[in-house]
């Protein structure tokens, strides 16, 4: 008696949730071809190299396509193609989330969606269960399908931004270049987006997909027409496994709680939490002494609870401060503001050129463009957040290059220096620098961090050199302070 009901219920569920049939899936998976232009951080006034690449996208509700952010980053011209349709349709990026490597595309002609069916989202697949990966990887022109099992569900770094970690699912199906953005299907539903493999020769049959909690988070975030990025507590915490530590912090022998080891001044918890506080529960979920909580049947890091929040949401923390229990509410008023360590896209590099001296803020992109061999720069980059260097250097302004001219003949030693002051004024941002250079002193005196001499430029000499430098080096603009450029 029970079995048939179960079967009916299953069938019903399939019908109600609109699980896609195999041929419907095939029709709803598209090849995405991106003509991209990556910014030139070496010569920031130049437009940058144009290149092209392709990945996979799939149809969701509202005549839209989901793909990976890295498939459509820095896009200048995007096309999408379906199986059995020779036409290339022009697409545009509606939303792009570099911190979770997802993007939403619009297609100009609605004719594209004829014959497609929005693929429904599923849940977290079981370990060892079978999944199918659809996409347009290298090795052929037509749609490819590979199969594998779910190997592991874990927190993992998303290599597109290089700094963000979210839930990700490891599968043993072959995922190759071109698969990116493609749907990973189980029982007719999308359970993930294929997005990265394992670099190096040591691992085999390791592919990763973005699971549906992350996809749903992205879709919900953009409902208001804007992507606000992931929320983050911006704290560090440390296990409380040690009995002496538990005693000192006033904890009982119940394996609960983590000690706050660091509260970022620029984060949402600043002033609300203090190092030494013990986090016992987050939104009512008990935190174990290694920082894990149980969420929907999975043991995950407590950070995952914050991960699932949106701008202006509140998280409730039960803490122990000086052995006294307290409740703290933290409102996510903004995403973490300092993205210096994250790879940036869709941005025109910020810079100021003055007297042939090129000043640029430190970023991952800048480090990628220059082979700096400078201890101070690497320290500022690596410890920007851990040592809260952003407090005194919200932008770490580097003299990155010199366009040789008689005015700067003797200034080579200052290359790779970090600007501290101009004419006695502390320079926090590139905008401060522009303001200082707009003044008319007899000498511009630039002081750098460290114990070197000041860099001195005579105003008259700078003014006399300006045209000469700009024309000789074909510089169309001496500065760019806006970073955003319109995406395709």
């Amino acid at each position: 008696m029970i079995r048939p009901i179960g079967a009916v219920a299953l069938l019903l569920a399939l019908t109600l949730s609109g699980a896609a049939q195999p041929n419907e899936i095939r029709h709803s998976v598209a090849r995405v071809t991106n003509t991209a232009q990556d910014a030139n951080y070496r010569v920031p006034w130049l437009p940058g190299q144009v290149g092209s690449g392709s990945g996979t996208g799939w149809v969701i509700s509202g005549d839209r396509l989901i793909t990976n952010a890295h498939v459509v980053s820095n896009a200048r011209f995007l096309t999408v193609e379906k199986e059995n349709d020779p036409k290339k349709y022009i697409a545009t990026v509606e939303h792009i989330a570099h911190d979770c490597d997802l993007a939403l595309l619009k297609v100009q002609e609605t004719a594209f969606f004829v014959g497609t069916k929005p693929l429904p989202l599923g849940g977290l697949p079981e370990l060892e269960s079978l999944v199918s990966v659809f996409g347009y990887p290298i090795g052929g022109e037509r749609l490819s399908v590979t199969q594998g099992v779910v190997s592991r569900i874990d927190f993992r770094t998303y290599t597109h931004s290089t700094v963000d970690s979210h839930l990700s699912i490891q599968i043993d199906a072959a995922i190759n270049p071109g698969n990116s953005g493609g749907p990973v299907m189980q029982d007719g539903k999308v359970v993930g987006v294929a997005f990265q493999g394992y670099s190096g020769d040591v691992a085999q049959n390791v592919g990763y997909m973005i699971p549906t909690p992350v996809i749903r988070h992205f879709l919900k975030d953009i409902e208001d027409g804007r992507y606000d990025r992931y929320m983050d507590l911006s704290i560090g915490f440390f296990n409380t496994l040690n009995p002496a530590m538990r005693k000192a912090l006033g904890l009982t022998d119940d394996d609960r709680g983590v000690m706050v080891s660091n509260v970022q001044e620029a984060g949402v918890c600043a002033g609300l939490l203090h190092p030494g506080d013990v986090l016992l529960a987050i939104d009512g979920l008990e935190i174990s002494s290694d920082g894990m909580v149980e969420l929907e049947g999975e043991r995950v890091l407590l950070s995952e609870v914050a991960e699932r929040k949106y701008l202006d949401d509140v998280v409730k923390l039960s803490i122990l401060r000086e052995k006294q229990p307290m409740e703290v509410e933290v409102k996510f008023t903004r995403a973490w503001p300092f993205t210096l360590q994250a790879q940036q896209y869709e941005q025109q590099p910020r810079y100021v050129l003055f007297g042939g001296l090129l000043f640029q803020p430190l970023s991952r992109n800048l480090l990628g463009a220059y082979a700096f061999d400078n201890l101070r720069i690497s320290y500022f980059y690596d410890h920007f957040i851990s040592k809260e260097l952003y407090r005194e250097h919200p932008e770490v302004i580097i003299l990155s290059a010199i366009l040789p001219d008689p005015i700067n003949t003797y200034l080579a030693e200052f290359r790779e220096g970090i600007v501290e002051k101009i004419n006695g004024k502390i320079i926090l941002t590139l905008d401060d620098m522009v303001a200082a250079f707009a003044e008319k002193p007899e000498f511009y005196v630039i002081e750098f961090l460290g114990t070197g001499r000041p860099l001195v430029l005579e105003r008259a000499a700078v003014e006399a050199a300006r045209e000469r430098i700009n024309s000789r080096y074909a510089v169309p603009a001496e500065q760019n302070l806006d970073e955003k450029i319109p995406a395709a």
Partner: protein, 496 residues
């Protein structure tokens, strides 16, 4: 950077120098001379700063010492660094006597050795110190297995001020071009002109046939200092400077065009320049009557234009008063700087710890140490890239970063896991700020800080992650015998 290169070259001669065996080394036949050299055999055993309770594997090196008057033998400090045993061996082999280090200065890389056996050196002809100029033919002395001298000639090509192996103070170096043959000795080798010692060969690059020589003036300074104890070492100014080639800087600093002078960029607090009242932004025009050019060189009667470091650090002695002619905001002034050696112990992060055991304290399994460059050098020749970045940064910027203390940086280097350290296994390379609320000025402050445990729990606070950790004080004490036995630790602390 230089130190790394030098170390590389050093290995070069020891391993691959053999390739030159067939090259003609000497233009004249090896002559029978009254010998003025002895073989010096040294067994070195350095402390292991990564495992500060023990020493590394001992190894033996052979070199050639120059015999000086008063039965003293001159070698490089490097040769006798962390020496366990030193012996003299006659040139032809056979005879050996134990020797001791009388004076050693790692900064100028020189050491003076002696033996209690008054017979051993008595028949050797002592060398006097001579002088050499660019273009002179110099001879490098090696010893054949049969005891004969192997003499290689080469011209002295340059004399310049460079950093020495201990990368702190710059000294004069003679550079010689000569094709040395490989023998079973490493450095130093005596360098002679006529019958006088003009230097000790401390480095050889066998691809370019270049030899770096510790020159006579540095040796003379060292010997004069050694004759009149206490040995005071080479003086310095305690200031940093920049060249003034840039005309825009010169006009900004109120200097006349083409008028020499250096721009003071840094004055070390408490150093000789600071005591004399020198300030950042001053322009130094003359030191002890010698005009300083825009690059910081003076005109040396022997070597021409060379760095003022030679004038101040080698030609003059600790405690000497030097007149400085300076410009301050365009106004000429005179100051008197009493130059002084900077003892290595006065550094927050000591640039070298040689012949001294590393200090450490094992607290329930936490290994606490004092940060030194010697510790960082445990990461090998490429330590600036491979050692923990924060420590390399602290070392490189220590003059800027520790103006208000502490005197030494105490850090947790690693954890030897024990019952007391559960949960802390992953903590490493963390700077310790306080123990039980006591700010540590050095590792010697630990015992009195540990006496302040609250409710039987020690609290260790770090600069950065993980913030703070705690240890059960009674458990820590109870675990000591177990730690010593299980990890085979001869001692759990060394604070002196």
């Amino acid at each position: 950077m230089r130190g790394r290169l030098a170390a590389l070259l050093f290995c070069g001669l020891l391993t691959s120098g053999i390739g030159h065996a067939q090259a003609p080394a000497s233009l004249e036949p090896t002559v029978e001379k009254a010998l003025s050299v002895v073989r010096v055999n040294v067994t070195n055993q350095a402390w292991d700063f990564g495992r500060p309770w023990g020493k590394r594997t001992p190894f033996t090196r052979r070199a050639i010492g120059a015999v000086l008057p008063r039965q003293r033998v001159l070698v490089t400090a490097e040769l006798v660094a962390n020496a366990n045993f030193v012996e003299f061996e006659s040139a032809g082999g056979g005879q050996k006597v134990p020797a001791t280090v009388e004076f050693v200065d790692y900064e100028c890389n020189l050491a003076l050795l002696k033996t209690d056996d008054t017979e051993f050196l008595k028949d050797l002809l002592p060398l006097n110190i001579g002088e050499a100029r660019i273009g002179d033919q110099l001879s490098v002395w090696q010893i054949e297995n049969n005891g004969n001298l192997l003499v290689t000639h080469g011209p002295m090509t340059t004399a310049e001020v460079l950093r020495y192996p201990i990368d702190e103070s710059p000294f004069l170096v003679y550079r010689l071009t000569a094709q040395l043959q490989f023998r079973d000795t490493s450095f130093p080798l005596p360098v002679v002109k006529g019958e006088k010692l003009v230097g000790l060969l401390q480095r050889y690059d066998n691809s370019a046939n270049n030899a770096d020589i510790i020159p006579a003036p540095v040796i003379e300074h060292f010997l004069k200092d050694a004759v009149q104890p206490p040995y005071e070492g080479f003086p310095r100014l305690g200031m940093g400077y920049a060249n003034t080639r840039d005309p825009q800087l010169r006009r900004y600093a109120g200097m006349k065009p083409g008028n020499g002078g250096i721009y003071v960029t840094e004055v070390l607090p408490g150093g000789p320049a600071a005591k004399a009242g020198l300030q950042k932004g001053d322009v130094v025009l003359k030191i002890a009557g010698e005009t300083i050019d825009q690059d910081g060189n003076y005109n040396d009667p022997q070597y021409g234009r060379i760095s003022l470091s030679h004038l101040v650090g080698t030609r003059h002695f600790h405690g000497t008063e030097l007149k400085f002619d300076i410009l301050r905001q365009s106004n000429p002034r005179q100051l008197t700087v009493t130059i002084a050696n900077r003892p290595v112990e006065s550094f927050v992060i000591e640039p070298y710890v040689i012949d001294r055991a590393p200090k450490f304290f094992i607290l329930g399994g936490l290994v606490l140490q004092e940060l030194s460059r010697q510790y960082l050098k445990e990461w090998g020749a490429d330590w600036k890239k491979k050692a923990p970045e924060q420590f390399v940064y602290l070392d490189a910027q220590q003059n800027e970063l520790f103006k208000d203390g502490p005197k030494k940086v105490v850090f947790l280097s690693r954890v030897l896991p024990s019952e007391a350290t559960i949960g802390y296994e992953e903590v490493r390379s963390a700077v310790v700020k306080k123990v039980n609320g006591v700010v540590l000025q050095g590792i010697a402050d630990l015992p009195k800080a540990l006496a302040q445990a609250k409710d039987g729990v020690h609290k260790i606070e770090f600069d950065g992650e993980p913030g703070a950790i705690y240890l059960d004080a009674a458990q820590v004490t109870a675990l000591e015998p177990m730690l010593a036995t299980k990890y085979r630790l001869p001692t759990l602390q060394r604070l002196e």
